[in-house]
């Protein structure tokens, strides 16, 4: 058996004898690296954030922060991980370690109180510190500093997946906005110039449980055909919650997040194709705003820590009715490319969902890519209704893509989440808009139709009345946004 191992803070560390479902968090803690903490075990608090070397967007390697509580250790076979302990430079014998610049700023500015969330904040902050396209000059002069970006280009969204119960965040923000550029001889900065570790084909078995990482799509679909019990995992941001919170245990987990066939982002003449295993952060940075509706979605989609691992394939594959990408992709008229050992087929997303967490995807199929037809509609918006602006699950999500020519609505696509057993398109509202003048009167009439869509339920996130009300007001808000200055 090839032994699986992870390079942790520069030291090769075997994963055995841990069970294949063991998370990176437990793997680290069991080896004495207890700086990485468990706060929630579902990727919500970020106390377990660690850095992983991944193929970069602007440099060969990015230091990407991920939730160690969600990722199986076996998924990082052959990869490099750095923890808060590894960021400080050890002193010579008998002398104290030298703090990393983000550690120094956090310490001296009062960024830690109880300290339990701090190592996770440190790793998330370090990831942003090393982001190559972080504006390292004075962003306030360039007009790029705002409520969520510091004068050093630091994007506060990079900390959206980290919770602190003590400080109220102000000193953490001050620390984040005070970090400068990495020094020339900073080993992690230098590491970005070398290629990231390649994915390693993994077959890691303990007892009756196996973690597999096939090298190619062909191998992956063959496993799906041969082993009906196999479970597909990409970023593990949903699966990890199942393992931790609902004690899910599987005999065969198949990792597809590094399959090259699922990692492409291609612009064709009639569509844009996004590989199902490209992470949301990668999509966000590589598209760089060219699909405005996606650009509006991403900052509202979970947290940076989750987006660093999560994929469109995963968000569609779980079939959740409250995923945030389906309403947007429905509004974009997207299709899915499903692959199996028999070949590929293309399914419109509007026909994909069949019931609560059910879809037309066969057990032997996986989602290879998402296709978004071009040209894009001019007027788009994503309205997410949630209790908290950063990192919350929507109670209602509404995505709009509308073409207005000469004051007349030529085309309208409206995707809805959170109001039925599946994400749906509001065909009736689309019909109430198309061919009509884009006026308050049209919008009010269509909003009444939209308000009646679906079968919203009352739960701990929102009442059914509120969900319905939000459907109606979302269209009115879109209208107001297109006709007057309204803060989003």
């Amino acid at each position: 058996m090839v032994s699986a191992r992870i390079t942790v803070n520069g030291k090769e560390t075997p994963i055995a004898p841990d069970a294949p479902h063991t998370t990176v968090l437990d793997f680290l803690r069991e080896r004495g690296l207890t700086g990485t903490k468990e706060g929630c075990a579902e990727g919500e608090c970020g106390a377990c954030s660690v850095l992983v070397a991944r193929p970069g967007v602007n440099k060969p390697t990015d230091w990407v922060a991920v939730n160690a509580c969600l990722v199986p250790a076996a998924a990082l076979d052959g990869q490099e991980v750095v923890t808060a302990e590894g960021l400080a430079t050890p002193g010579a014998d008998g002398t104290p370690a030298t703090l990393h610049p983000v550690q120094e700023e956090m310490a001296v500015r009062g960024g830690s109180q109880c300290g339990y969330c701090t190592p996770g904040f440190i790793c998330s902050m370090a990831s942003e510190y090393y982001r190559p396209d972080r504006c390292s000059h004075d962003a306030s002069e360039a007009g790029e500093a705002d409520a969520e970006h510091g004068p050093n280009g630091f994007d506060l969204h990079s900390l959206s997946g980290n919770l602190c119960r003590c400080t109220g965040y102000r000193p953490i923000r001050d620390a984040a906005y005070a970090v400068g550029e990495p020094a020339e001889d900073d080993p992690l900065a230098q590491r970005r110039e070398q290629a990231a570790p390649e994915p390693v084909a993994t077959s890691y078995t303990q007892g009756d449980s196996t973690f597999l990482r096939p090298a190619t799509l062909e191998e992956a679909v063959q496993i799906l055909r041969d082993r009906p019990e196999a479970v597909l995992v990409a970023g593990s941001t949903d699966y990890g919650v199942e393992v931790n919170i609902r004690s899910r245990r599987d005999t065969c987990v198949v990792a597809i997040d590094r399959l090259p066939e699922l990692r492409e982002l291609r612009v064709e003449s009639e569509y844009l194709e996004i590989g199902a295993a490209v992470t949301l952060t990668e999509i966000e940075r590589r598209l760089d705003g060219t699909v405005p509706l996606l650009a509006e979605l991403f900052p509202q989609f979970a947290s940076r820590l989750i987006r660093n691992s999560a994929t469109l394939g995963g968000n569609l594959g779980t079939g959740s009715p409250i995923g945030d990408s389906p309403p947007v992709l429905l509004a974009l008229d997207a299709s899915l490319v499903l692959a199996s050992a028999d070949g590929e087929r293309v399914v419109p997303l509007a026909d994909y969902f069949t019931g609560y967490r059910q879809s037309v995807r066969r057990p032997d199929e996986l989602i290879r890519a998402v296709r978004i037809p071009t040209p894009l509609s001019q007027v788009t918006a994503f309205h997410k209704i949630a209790k908290r602006r950063f990192d919350d699950i929507s109670s209602v999500a509404v995505a709009f893509a509308v073409d207005i020519e000469g004051g007349i609505v030529r085309k309208a696509r409206i995707g809805l989440g959170g109001i039925a057993a599946t994400p749906i398109r509001s065909l009736a509202t689309e019909a109430a808009l198309e061919g009509k003048p884009w006026t308050q009167e049209t919008v009010d009439a269509a909003a009444r139709v939209l308000r009646g869509e679906g079968t919203p339920m009352s739960d701990h996130r929102a009442s059914s009345l509120y969900r319905s009300a939000m459907l109606g007001t979302s269209l009115k808000k879109l209208y107001a946004q297109t006709t007057e200055a309204v803060s989003s």
Binding site: T34, G35, K37, G39, C40, A41, E42, E44, A47, A84, E85, L99, V102, Q103, M106, A107, R109, G110, G111, S112, Q113, C114, G115, Y116, C117, T118, P119, I122, A147, L156, L159, S160, N162, C164, R165, C166, T167, G168, Y169, R170, V241, N244, H383, I385, A386, K387, R388, R389, F390, D391, D392, I393, D459, H460, A462, A469, M470, K477, A480, V486
Partner: protein, 795 residues
Amino acid sequence: MSHLSERPEKPVVGVSMPHESAYQHVTGTALYTDDLVYRTKDVLHAYPVQVMKAHGRITALRTEPALAVPGVVRVLTGADVPGENDAGMKHDEPLFPDEVMFHGHAVAWVLGETLEAARLGAAAVEVELEEKPAIVTVGEAIAAESFHGARPHMETGDVDAGFADSAHIFTGEFTFAGQEHFYLETHAALAMVDEGGQLFIQSSTQHPSETQEIVSHVLGVPAHEITVQCLRMGGGFGGKEMQPHGFAAIAALGAKLTGRPVRFRLNRTQDLTMSGKRHGFHASWKIGFDAEGRIQALDATLTADGGWSLDLSEPVLARALCHIDNTYWIPNARVNGRIAKTNTVSNTAFRGFGGPQGMLVIEDILGRVAPQLGLDPIELRERNFYQPGQGQTTPYGQLVTQADRISAVWEQVKENGNLADRKREIAAFNAAHPHTKRAIALTGIKFGISFNLTAFNQGGALVLIYKDGSVLINHGGTEMGQGLHTKMMQVAATTLGIPLHKVRLAPTRTDKVPNTSATAASAGADLNGGAIKNACEQLRERLHQVAGTQLGGNASDVRIVEGVARVLGSDKELAWDDLVRTAYFQRVQLSASGFYRTEGLHWDAQAFRGTPFKYFSNGAAATEVEVDGFTGAYKIRRVDIVHDVGDSLSPMIDIGQVEGGFVQGAGWLTLEDLRWDTSDGPHRGRLQTQAASTYKLPSFSEMPEEFNVTLMENATEEGAVYGSKAVGEPPLMLAFSVREALRQAAAAFGPAGTSVELASPATPEAVFWAVESVREASAEGAEGSAVGSTALSNA
């Protein structure tokens, strides 16, 4: 200036510095209780057997199936308890219950070689239940008259006469939610037995002495056989004042029975479903004002949701009653309190300890009625402030000293926040934006410092000077992130006159300082600081004697400053290390235990009168919010705070407490939403928001965009160590300004003078419905009318 408050030359207190563990925090090397597991051999893991029904009598408990699970070592049940089967101080909290009292109640614990084995073992335990009706909400408890514990009654003046003299009388009801502590570190303990059979327990506890006491009575052994240590906590907020004891007792019992170290750590779901929270309350009230808007009389009944056992509900309720006046003089008041007994977790201490709940009632009333009195809410509040120099007392009979500070911080916030100009800007903004409204609200606080129960107001310390000049301090307080240890090191360095690096602080242990009080009631620095100062003064006096002889002067003329001893008027110096070494060779005792008791307190719980508080802490906050009329979503645009911490012991730490408390309070009042299944379905009584994904804490998106915190200057407090004041709890209540700003922003969607009722927490949905009710009232043309579900009567 008092001896207690006077600062010597070049004090180390008052210097801004990072948390004493900051370097360990940021490098991940600071150890918490559960981190020790990986440094301990042969640890067994304890896992609870939770019953997922809200109420029922256990008719069968079969543990054999668990023992068949590989890796399961033992199942702990009530039959294993050698002492008393109780985890509380009120003897109403069986550690292993015969009756399931809330959804998720643990009835047995499984010990396994691995956590996975223990979990599978717990799942295999079979429990049969004879279900009973469950009371889930405080409203149901009131209807069923399900109460427990004391029924305090607070009365002052002549209430009936006060109402007779009132020009305006309003009545109302208000039910508001509790709050989950959500310390990032969940409950944890690690227990070991030594060669003599004695127990050493590492526990994440705010109250090691009481953890020791409970373990002692569960095991049926004297306290001297139990040592409890708390390295540090990953947050406490009151949630680890009473709740850790039973869990620690489980670990201790397991260790005692197996001879092996036993660890337990609740996962987040277990912690949320098993541990107590801030009490939600129901309030019914009647209030009278004179024609100018001055409160004439208040008649109120507060009902706290105590949950299934009493826990700390009685003192929490007492503090709620003691804070219903907040900063306002209420000449005639009658306030009754009672504790609902419900089939939910046992609600407990949480930062503010009932104070926030009492104050929320009066702030809500003033926010609701201001439009009906035709007064700006700021004006209404000012007219009712306690006035200095008039001998005004609280409804429980304590003289309100420093009443001038109530308006001092208030006026400074107005100035710092440039309120007059900004109110004009907001009016202009609102006139120009039909779908978005802004508002600014100003609220203040007066919070009593000391434990209501006088006996708890004592602290102890043990200070050791080693012959190389290094100093080790021990005290009874615990560190949960509030910076207590940092302040205590500063106090020790100040009293001894040495640089801070000479002082190290040892983890809190019951075998160093006995019979300590909980680190709670914001009193940690007052009590333990007083004790450390006392111990250091004893040592300093001894060293002054030595130095006087060495330097050729009188001991009373010796000053030790920055580690050098001198005699007044002389240039001769004696370095600290030399002084200590000399003292050792002269056989001078270099250790001392210190003690402090807060003077001047008395409290009659029956009569509900006395002077329970040493002093009051004051502060004021102005908050500006912006509300989206389409969704009810909002953001906090700017917060200005002026807070009174006396003369700060450690300014950076105090500002951190103010900011953190404010945001935590804003979370309670706006975002954090405890939802219980109140249906008659199979999951009745289940906590629906039992994870970080459903119970949302403030994140970066809730941080005020502009956040200005100023500590009141020249604020020496005569009655506390080095002139400082407590800081832990009071700032939480500054967040009332967020709630009142949201109320006013909702009102701005209607005509001027609209009264708005706002649910608590004021989630976006709640704000949306408040906005909708304003719009509806506006559409009906009912100018100035009350809106919402409960009508106000205007007599």
